[in-house]
Symmetry: C2
Subunit: 268 residues, 2 copies
Amino acid sequence: MHSLDSLVALHPRDPDTAIAQLDRSYWNFVGQYGGVSAALAVQAIRTDPRSQGDPLSLTVNFSTPLADGVVLIHKELMGQTRSTQQWQLRLMQEVDGQPVLRTAAMLVQATRPEGFERTELVPPVMPASQDVPVMPRGGVTWLERYEFRMLKGVPGQVHDDTYSTGYVRDFPPRPLDYPALAALSDSFFPRLFLLTGSVNPVATISMSVYFHGTAAEIAAQGDAPLLCTARARRFNSGYTDHTGELWSEQGRLLVTSEQMMWFRHQPV
Amino acid sequence: MHSLDSLVALHPRDPDTAIAQLDRSYWNFVGQYGGVSAALAVQAIRTDPRSQGDPLSLTVNFSTPLADGVVLIHKELMGQTRSTQQWQLRLMQEVDGQPVLRTAAMLVQATRPEGFERTELVPPVMPASQDVPVMPRGGVTWLERYEFRMLKGVPGQVHDDTYSTGYVRDFPPRPLDYPALAALSDSFFPRLFLLTGSVNPVATISMSVYFHGTAAEIAAQGDAPLLCTARARRFNSGYTDHTGELWSEQGRLLVTSEQMMWFRHQPV
């Protein structure tokens, strides 16, 4: 079974709670890769009998690092209209017999009618994915779950700015779906690493994802590489952000994603 | 009293609930301007005795339109570390004796140490604010609460794209603070209006705000105009987004803000 499918293999405990059992396939330095929380939130709602429509916007707030082992995913349908649903989620783990909040999330789902289409953002000019070499996988564990082909913004090198372009997909390749896309939305390297060429202490505080692509566009992607681009907007007083984009190679903007991140950096 | 101060004059009901009494000073077509919810969320936490630090990231999800009258603002401190707090908020109103969810929000606050500063985003090149004429105020009521000087992207005209630049501040002018900045984060016109030159049906689904500016930078702004710029990234299948920026005239990026919006548009 693909590691992403193992990750999101949820079991219902009661109508409002799903259970995940996490190993360390997506391990980051001190806990799960942040995309794990995003994928679990999306999957917990998609497997809920009340679910209507598809993910439209997701905000994931990271409180304490998600460990391996059992995760309780509490779901609340806060409100719904004919075409949208507002969900609240909390990912909890037990520590010394006490429930601890790991991640809080809000997910909006929507039923999307066909209609007016216009993309204003322009994808970066890139060679075809097969012409960009695959980066060696590894470092921390979660990086082994993805295949990166970076044209600009290779980690481990010092860059003049934080703008990066490249391609990314699950590894091994796997047909794209909403949980995979939610997880991929956290796959942009911390921008500070690109400035320093090293691995500074960082921690994501909040990530938001807008799903611009429809279910049909996401299904059409199959397991092809996604064009990924990101940049920081500002570093200031201990916090920084980035804004990222995931495009199909045919120029469809599937996801935009922002995150605010704590960092430590003492320039010499 | 300034209409914004009246708006955010909250009264505690119990430790976990604040009460606001809304008039129609910030009325939009069918309910309160979305910035009202953002300002109330920020102010409800800032006036809570448990509050530590300053707003860092805010996500506001709009469920049903906020009417005038009494609003109950439920607050929950979901988690905290030495330097951050994770808050959950729900804005409720009674309809026929039943509580109805209007807005759900998540707010992260942080205590921000001084340190590394770098702004990568470049503000648009603009004439000084006093050289850009003030737009006539009016239309819907909330527009009377702001002074806009638009250089590009004047509503009521048909534009080739949705990119806008200009200046905005409270009207009458009022020293900037976090509730005001939260409210201003929703002041970007719906981008669709710029394409069509008219007023299409739209409704914000979710808005996220990152507070890049520190308390000192926000205080230093005083009541001067803020540089505002925004653009849509994609319109697709009934939903669109925009990303916006608020800068000081001295080039400090104070806020970035994204929102996902429902729209209806039948091109002829």
